[in-house]
Symmetry: C2
Subunit: 386 residues, 2 copies
């Protein structure tokens, strides 16, 4: 019986085999290596497009001006740039006016509104964000009950050795990325895990858990409940402030309790930091100042600050500076002089100074870039929980 059935199935297969015999593996085209970082720190980019009329290289590296690429006989466009200063950069190809990621490169910039590839020029000795031969922590994607019945995704770094000693508890750093970024951006672009691995290995940072949430509650709700994703609000508008409040509610009511339950944290304000970039910097300051019982350490990186609300949002911290200065173990503010938010940050620092609120600031060159964010993270993480 079983053999008969098998024989029938095999016969059907044979027929199907004949039918599909002509079906070949889909062609992949010429193999393209891109980007290729050369020993002298020049970088070659390549893109296969035999019938394109014009291909250019665009990205943070080049500033406003795109670089022309040249086509070879099989249709691969290429350009070599540099030497490029060792760091991580984003880029795109512009193919007959259309911006595309590099198909041959799996490293990308996680974002809601644009798609870019990433490349890394290694240092002559490994940089602080490089994968070094040191003990590595792990990066965990976790799922928690978030606002309005949605499931939140959050990315959590645990330091090396976290799984080795079940009695050890850790401080926690909540780290929030910018408008249009996702919960993956501080991992994939910020390199938070490798920076912390390396700082911890050098004895420069305390072992800590880093929690990287998604900052856009409204998109989360729309995606999971079938609504329309709303546009980003006008800065400092009532809508923007309402959204920051919704984020703050999710962080304090849902995420912190979840993390304190799921991980071996030290669940008090002296062992809880909050920091963020751009919109995440604004969310950081509001969340911290609205919840001074929960955070002792604050880091604002190129923050989108609510300067219009200085007297309202910050009222609670400026009314009694001595108390604030005693409570806050760190108020870190950093920005680049070419950042479009530089003015606001300067206004904020002046305001803090005029109110006798202590802070640490780092003013660098450069703009609103992840190159700067990695620097700010590297410097400020060394001050936390000490």
């Amino acid at each position: 019986m079983r053999r008969t059935t098998l024989a029938r199935i095999l016969f059907t297969w044979m027929m199907l085999c004949l039918f599909f015999a002509g079906k070949a593996q889909p062609p992949r085209g010429p193999f393209v290596v891109s980007p290729q970082v050369l020993a002298d720190k020049k970088v070659t980019f390549r893109y296969l497009a035999p019938s394109a009329r014009e291909v250019k290289l665009a990205g943070g590296l080049m500033g406003a001006s795109n670089m022309a690429m040249v086509k070879d006989s099989i249709g691969i466009w290429s350009v070599t740039v540099g030497p490029v200063r060792p760091d991580i950069y984003s880029y795109n190809f512009v193919v007959d006016g259309v911006s595309v990621m590099d198909p041959a490169n799996e490293d990308f910039f996680p974002n809601e509104r644009f798609k870019s590839s990433l490349f890394e020029v290694p240092g002559f000795t490994p940089l602080i964000h490089a994968v070094r031969d040191v003990p590595h922590g792990s990066v965990n994607y976790e799922y928690y009950s978030s606002v309005e019945g949605t499931t939140g995704t959050v990315v959590v770094y645990t330091p090396p050795g976290y799984d080795k000693d079940a009695s050890k508890k850790y401080p926690v750093f909540y780290l929030i990325s910018g408008t249009t970024d996702t919960e993956e951006t501080f991992f994939k672009v910020g390199r938070t895990n490798f920076i912390l691995d390396n700082l911890i290995a050098e004895g420069k940072a305390k072992p800590m858990i880093v929690v990287m949430p998604y900052g856009n509650m409204e998109a989360r709700i729309a995606e999971q409940q079938g609504g329309t994703k709303p546009a980003d609000p006008v800065r400092d508008s009532p809508d923007a402030i309402a959204r920051m409040r919704r984020f703050e509610q999710d962080l304090t009511k849902n995420l912190i309790p979840y993390i304190d339950k799921q991980y071996r944290t030290i669940p008090n304000r002296d062992n809880r930091a909050i920091g963020g970039f751009s919109r995440g910097g604004g969310q950081t300051l509001r969340t911290a100042f609205w919840n001074m019982d929960k955070f002792s350490w604050i880091c604002a990186y190129s923050a989108n600050l609510p300067t219009k609300e200085l007297e309202s949002t910050y009222a609670s911290i400026v009314s009694n500076p001595d108390n604030t200065n005693k409570q806050l173990k760190l108020l870190w503010v950093s920005v680049g002089t070419e950042d479009f938010l530089y003015n606001d940050v300067a206004t904020f620092l002046n305001y803090l100074t005029s109110k006798n609120i202590h802070y640490k600031s780092l003013i660098t060159g450069g703009g609103h870039t992840w190159i700067n964010v990695r620097t700010y993270l590297t410097e400020s993480a060394q001050l936390l929980f000490k």
Copy 2:
């Protein structure tokens, strides 16, 4: 003294503020919602390109024929398709002949050689890969010492409750993606974590750890040691087989010991499964048959099988069928009738039958797609470790 320095810094800031006053936030353009899944399971795609001449929608959903999109007065191209059968699909826009990801969609297909966006049409009741309101496991990115001094990235699923009971140990399923996929593909496209969460919640699968490695050792070495990434080898060529051997060496010598050290595994063959898709299926069969002391459960999904080597690679398992049948708790083989590898898989099954090796097969419709992979994973995972 301190106040004088501060005053000087503040003055400099003021000057810089004036200098940069004209610098505005970079424009973002009109807000585009894409994709938008409607209540009736139709899906609207939108792409902003005021000066494009032609924009089409391309992807697995559409087969070979791209769909024309229509431009509105502000330059947003759109098309509505469907109703679409609830599932997860990949797609691209083709803009004046250039294939691009959807800039407004953060869900993507991790891959070395192409860049696609993903969209999900939810079921009327949640599908097996959907985020349901059940206990969730977590997904961990880990870093281990891999081949030739490189650092390997591996993605590890731990089941719900893993962190709750430090005395409980788990079986482990090694799950390998296909050529050009990365260690993220079984997570982001395969939805391994949500499928397992849901099967475990329904009592249909045993709680298990799932380990998702990267399959391309040569690319890893080239990237980390500054070499040139080699092209994919010709199927079943000596180079292909040498590379499978290198993968097998990394898995058995580096990765399994690392996982057994880092996680609470049951480190024996009866509690270790291996499975894979496409090239990962070929790596699965070779690794398993070369290491029958290490694996009792084997899953081949649309596997790129070494049919040329039937008599060599499989010699060890066919020479004593009774022994093999006793040792192997599961040999699962699945493929779609439209898969370009269908013939090879049929040949393999015929061969196994002729040698009296027991197996379980699932022949579906459809081709070499992740829609099929998720089905195969869902069905076979329910058989493991039982």
